[in-house]
């Protein structure tokens, strides 16, 4: 296995390579951007229509009151987690191979959270009254219901989003300073000058920077866990068969990290090509990420099994019925597909041969995410179709094109934000790559010295 990164790259070259990504990406970049815009405008169209005509256009009904919106909402929340995994957890573990790739992972976190936020909105029957659910002193002297898991969601997502934005920004300050110093004048230079807050890399700044970065990282890890366990409690706290499951929080968190890692692999491959980052986003790093993904995939598979087992051995007949319903009822094809994508497909990653085979990885990572999306859908929908009350069982209700349109559009929205970000801000952390190179060189030199001594 090769080195994660060449140790003889000069710091100047790092600067210039990364800065180049802000100037001249491959043509593919613009193609992606265009497609994203189209997809997003489709989503917008659907929402406008739904807003004016009513939720009915989503073809939801009683009892199927929730649909793809909630499922996709969970999906995006999940997606956001591995950003934190890479930047925070691995940071604490001093796994320095994360350094070239954590920046875009964090960006992914931020933007998928924004996307998730959109789904809360489009789900609401009366979007125009959204402000009712915000806690602020108002002339009605009313507060939202703090008992509702949905409100916890809102709170958690707000915390998580703001924190990750800050984390992303703080971590970027030294790089912004670099951009400020080394880009030719223009609106961007002004922007960077503003955002760099006059960073000069003095010892005082670095000292506090180190502590701050560490602290925020420490906060972010429990936060990330809490966020998805709260999303899980939307279901676990409810009383419905198939939702009222104790193991949901860890299960959701695992699923989140899983889909996140898969997404990172996908984006890794795209960025690597689009911005010519072969030097930094190297195959060995990719390999590490893939192995991480594989590990988490297995965790998820296990927790899945645990959940089924728990239901199976419980005395809750209704829950059992729902589970059987999933495996045999109208949703069976999707359910089995989820099992396949989520638990079988990742096995390919166990093979060294595939761990660095970019086309395979690309395909696999997409399949994994498909599986994870299906998982969310399979959590939400079947419970409605086969709940406690037999009279209202309803097995033939399917999402309308409007719902699909918005799901589709959300990917456009995400891609749009993400791609714009990567073009405007350095998606590889220059100063940390420098540190990485520096420390690795020191290390290997000392090794060499040690050898020489013998």
């Amino acid at each position: 296995m090769g080195k994660d990164i060449r140790e003889d790259i000069s710091w100047a070259k790092i600067n210039e390579d990364v800065l180049r990504s802000l100037e001249s990406p491959r043509r593919l970049y613009w193609v992606i951007l265009l497609v994203a815009m189209l997809a997003f405008s489709v989503g917008i169209g659907c929402e406008v229509y739904q807003y004016n005509v009513g939720m009915g256009v989503a073809n939801l009904d009683n009892p199927h009151v929730w649909g793809l919106y909630i499922a996709t909402f969970i999906f995006w929340i999940g997606m956001s987690h591995s950003g934190t995994l890479l930047s925070a957890i691995l940071h604490l573990m001093h796994a320095d191979w994360r350094k070239p790739i954590y920046r875009f992972a964090e960006a992914m976190t931020t933007f998928s959270l924004m996307t998730a936020g959109l789904f809360v909105m489009v789900h609401l029957g009366r979007l125009w009254q959204f402000y009712y659910s915000l806690p602020y002193p108002n002339e009605r002297a009313l507060w939202p219901n703090f008992q509702s898991p949905l409100l916890w969601d809102a709170m958690a997502i707000f915390t998580y989003l703001s924190s990750s934005v800050i984390f992303l920004f703080i971590g970027m300050i030294p790089d912004l300073a670099i951009c400020r110093d080394h880009l030719h004048p223009g609106w961007r230079k002004k922007l960077y000058t503003l955002l760099a807050l006059g960073w000069e890399g003095t010892d005082r700044q670095w000292r506090n920077f180190r502590i701050t970065y560490l602290t925020v990282a420490c906060f972010l890890i429990p936060l990330a866990v809490s966020v998805h366990s709260i999303v899980a409690s939307d279901f676990a706290m409810s009383q419905q068969p198939g939702w009222h499951v104790t193991s949901f929080p860890p299960y959701f968190v695992a699923g989140a990290l899983y889909s996140g890692c898969a997404a990172i692999v996908t984006l890794f491959i795209i960025l690597r090509y689009v911005f010519k980052f072969e030097e930094y986003m190297t195959l060995p790093i990719l390999k590490k990420t893939v192995r991480l993904t594989f590990a988490i995939a297995m965790v998820w598979t296990y927790l899945n099994a645990v959940e089924f087992a728990a239901v199976w051995y419980s005395h809750d007949q209704a829950a059992k019925d729902v589970l059987i319903q999933k495996a045999t009822g109208p949703y069976a094809p999707f359910w089995w597909m989820m099992i396949f994508c989520g638990s079988v497909v990742p096995l390919t990653l166990a093979f060294k041969r595939f761990q660095t085979n970019i086309p395979v990885l690309f395909a696999v990572s997409l399949l994994l995410n498909l599986g994870m999306w299906l998982e969310r859908w399979m959590i939400v929908a079947p419970t409605f179709s086969h709940g406690y009350y037999p009279w209202t069982w309803d097995h033939n209700q399917w999402p309308s094109l409007i719902q699909w349109g918005m799901v589709f559009g959300s990917f456009g929205w995400f891609a749009l934000l993400f791609m714009v970000f990567c073009k405007v801000f350095p998606s590889v952390s220059m100063y940390e790559v420098k540190e990485m190179v520096y420390h690795r060189r020191l290390a290997s030199e000392s090794q060499a010295a040690a050898k020489g001594a013998h």
């Binding site: 009366r126 019925d321 097995h395």
Partner: protein, 732 residues
């Protein structure tokens, strides 16, 4: 805008207050508004109406002929909701869904707004003038009247107008009516509508009488049924057995529902008598002789009811006296319908129920206002007369024959042989479309009338129907007013003094106040009380009942099968739709049929076994074809029907009448064979034989019932106890 006869009813004026248009903004604007909405106040105050407070007026429900008394809630001059009037012995403050929908008949957007002559709007005096000219040119016998069952002073005016024209051709027609049973009752008891006392009976055996759903007076019978079921009643909890080929709502509530081979009701009745005789019940010799061939085995083989079951029935009837045996639509709708009814009457007599649970109805002191029930024979008779071209001019009121007449009668063609057809109508229905002159009627909540129900559960009573609010449409008129105007054309001297029907009615009622038990009171008080009560209880003797049901001449033709048309069509009368006159009321369309839970469409009930044989599954669009016609409708696999029969609800499949009725479902009347009961000549509703074919289309049946299909998945949701497992005596 207000008809002159209303200005004394100023409080009926509609106010803008909390007006619907405003209410509709519902969850709209969320903050205080200033000076956008208008508040209209009365010009003159009334002691009744205070804005924001509901006022209640008593009237009479006109949704069916049962004659329930209603109380309408009026606010700011708008009739909002109908409740039952507790003072009435018929519905005692209760109401059925059909009655609740009365407001939708009133506010219906498809109501006729002005008279139409050959499709063109005309002014009222012009319209009435046209009639005047026409009748002048005709002799009385050329003029015929087709009306629904009627009573009270509207009936009186009708009769008088016919006299004025010298016409004897009054055809009183109800597409759905117990007319055969009526005749049989007349024979057996000497009265057409004896009082039935379910509340006194220990057991009720009903041959297809859907008294909880759509038979005669459902609300009243439902209340009796509730009494009948009470465990803490002296007679103890009653037992209900329903015997019919297609499960009705009543069948669904029976302790035992017995599917019977269509048409064999009489045989079973005699079989039961036979069994009773065996069990040692003393049976008159003539009867014993008549039933001697009806040994359980034979009966069982003919009727498809097991010998054991027949035994059980006999045992039940023997132990539970008094009991009550009813003959309903399912029993009477055959060529030998009268026979069936007679046999059942005989069973009652043998059981000695006559006088115990079958009582004499009170007789109405004034025969001219007494109810005249409609029947189906009338239509056939009129049809014949029309066909022969003897009818020049035809008045139609309270009936929609073009829709309800079987195609095989060719009624529509014959109708057009009449040169001048006047139709009184609320909607532009199928018959109105054929009319030369259409006269738009006030709704029942706008109109004045009196009514004497045909079925009188207690003493006779005169129901008053009075306006609950001002007219919605200036162009409509009350039946009474129209008739009065027509009569003025003929007998000005006699009717000139009444400036409107209200005046006539008040005068007519007040003039007989003595007989109505208001002797002591002065006219105004009496009238005021009458209006506030909404009804007058008529004093007067109960009639007397004869028990002369005889076994003489009872014979039942063996059921002949028809290979080409293997199945029996049972057109079902549903509580929502009845004969289809209320089809344009959306609440009724959207309230699911109790048994199939289907909405907004008609359906074909097939027993799963039969369906399996024909390869039909739920949702298949099947064609039901008889000799005289065919319909297409969705199949619904229904366990509660005899395998040899299929059932289609009546009342759907209108081609006109309004947005909610038009094109919904298929019209089962159209395909009926014109077979009649031999004695009464009534159209035999259940005599039509049909065959069923798949069309290849399949749809998802739109119904309330979900995929669970009426299963409870092992949960205790709708629970049931066996009567011997429960102690009802101490219940509240």
């Amino acid at each position: 805008m207000i008809e002159n006869n209303f200005n004394r009813r100023d409080f009926l004026k509609v106010l803008g207050w909390g007006g619907a248009a405003v209410t509709l903004s519902g969850c709209g604007f969320t903050s205080v508004q200033d000076g956008t909405e208008t508040v209209v106040s009365y010009v003159e105050p009334t002691e009744y109406a205070l804005p924001g407070i509901g006022v209640y007026f008593n009237s009479t429900c006109a949704q069916c002929d049962a004659g329930c008394s209603i109380t309408g809630r009026v606010r700011e001059g708008r009739a909002l909701k109908l409740e039952g009037n507790a003072a009435s012995s018929i519905n005692r403050g209760k109401m059925c869904g059909l009655g609740q929908a009365g407001v939708q008949a009133h506010y219906n957007p498809d109501r006729l707004r002005e008279p139409m002559f050959k499709g063109q709007p005309v002014a009222w005096d012009k319209a009435l003038g046209l009639i005047d000219e026409k009748v002048k040119t005709l002799k009385g016998d050329d003029v015929a009247f087709l009306t629904g069952g009627m009573s009270g002073h509207v009936k009186v005016l009708f009769k008088n107008y016919m006299d004025a024209l010298g016409s004897k051709n009054h055809y009183v027609y109800e597409a759905v009516s117990p007319s055969v049973v009526r005749a049989a009752n007349k024979k057996a008891y000497g009265v057409e509508a004896p009082r039935l006392r379910l509340d006194k009976a220990k057991a009720v055996v009903s041959f297809g009488a859907d008294f909880l759903g759509a038979w005669v007076s459902p609300v009243h019978f439902s209340q009796q049924y509730a009494q009948f079921r009470k465990g803490n009643r002296p007679e103890g909890r009653g037992v209900l057995v329903q015997i019919e080929p297609k499960m009705t709502l009543t069948g669904a509530n029976a302790d035992r529902w017995i599917p019977l081979r269509p048409g064999t009701d009489g045989v079973l009745a005699l079989g039961i008598i036979h069994a009773l005789a065996k069990n040692g019940l003393s049976v008159p010799a003539d009867v014993a002789a008549a039933v001697k061939d009806y040994a359980p085995e034979r009966v069982s083989q003919e009727t498809g009811v097991s010998v054991e079951q027949i035994g059980k029935l006999a045992a039940l009837l023997k132990t539970h006296t008094p009991s009550l045996v009813l003959a309903g639509d399912a029993a009477e709708g055959y060529q030998h319908g009268s026979q069936n009814a007679a046999a059942i009457a005989l069973l009652n007599r043998v059981l000695g129920n006559v006088g115990k649970t079958i009582e004499a109805p009170a007789n109405v002191p004034f025969p001219q206002i007494a109810a005249q029930g409609g029947n189906r024979a009338a239509l056939q008779a009129l049809n014949g007369k029309l066909a022969s071209g003897k009818v020049q001019m035809l008045f139609v009121h309270g009936a929609n024959p073009v829709y309800t007449a079987p195609l095989s009668l060719k009624f529509k063609e014959n109708l057009n042989k009449a040169t001048f057809k006047v139709v009184f109508a609320h909607y532009m229905d199928e018959t109105a479309l054929q009319a030369d002159l259409v006269l738009p009627l006030d709704s029942a909540l706008e109109d004045w009338a009196t009514a004497v129900p045909e079925y009188l559960p207690e003493g006779a009573q005169l129901n008053v129907q009075q306006p609950l609010m001002e007219k919605l449409h200036a162009g409509t008129r009350g039946t009474g007013d129209i008739l009065l105007a027509l009569l003025k054309q003929r007998r000005a001297n006699e009717y000139g003094k009444f400036d409107d029907f209200y005046a006539y009615l008040r005068n007519a009622v007040v003039s007989i106040k003595g007989a109505l038990g208001g002797g002591g009171k002065d006219e105004d008080t009496f009238w005021a009380e009458t209006l506030s009560e909404g009804l007058v209880k008529l004093p007067g003797s109960g009639g007397n009942l004869s028990s002369k049901a005889s076994a003489a001449g009872l014979h039942f033709p063996a059921v002949v099968e028809d290979a080409a048309y293997p199945l029996r069509l049972i057109p079902s009368v549903t509580a929502n739709m009845r004969d289809g006159r209320n089809a344009n009321q959306p609440w009724l369309q959207e309230s699911p049929d109790p048994l199939t839970t289907i909405v907004w469409d008609s359906w074909v009930e097939i027993h799963p076994k039969t369906a399996a044989k024909l390869g039909i599954v739920e949702g298949d669009i099947v064609e039901v074809a008889s000799k005289s016609g065919s319909i297409k409708a969705q199949a619904y696999l229904f366990p509660g029907i005899h395998p040899d029969a299929v059932s289609v609800p009546l009342g759907y499949g209108h081609e006109a009448m309004g947005r909610y009725a038009k094109g919904v479902g298929a019209n089962a009347f159209a395909m009926l064979d014109a077979v009649s009961d031999q004695e009464t000549g009534e159209l035999a509703m259940n005599e039509t034989r049909v065959k069923i074919g798949k069309t290849g289309q399949r749809i998802i049946v739109i119904k309330e019932e979900g995929v669970a299909g009426g299963k409870q998945a092992g949960k205790k949701i709708a629970a049931r106890l066996a009567s011997d497992k429960v102690d009802l005596s101490k219940e509240v």
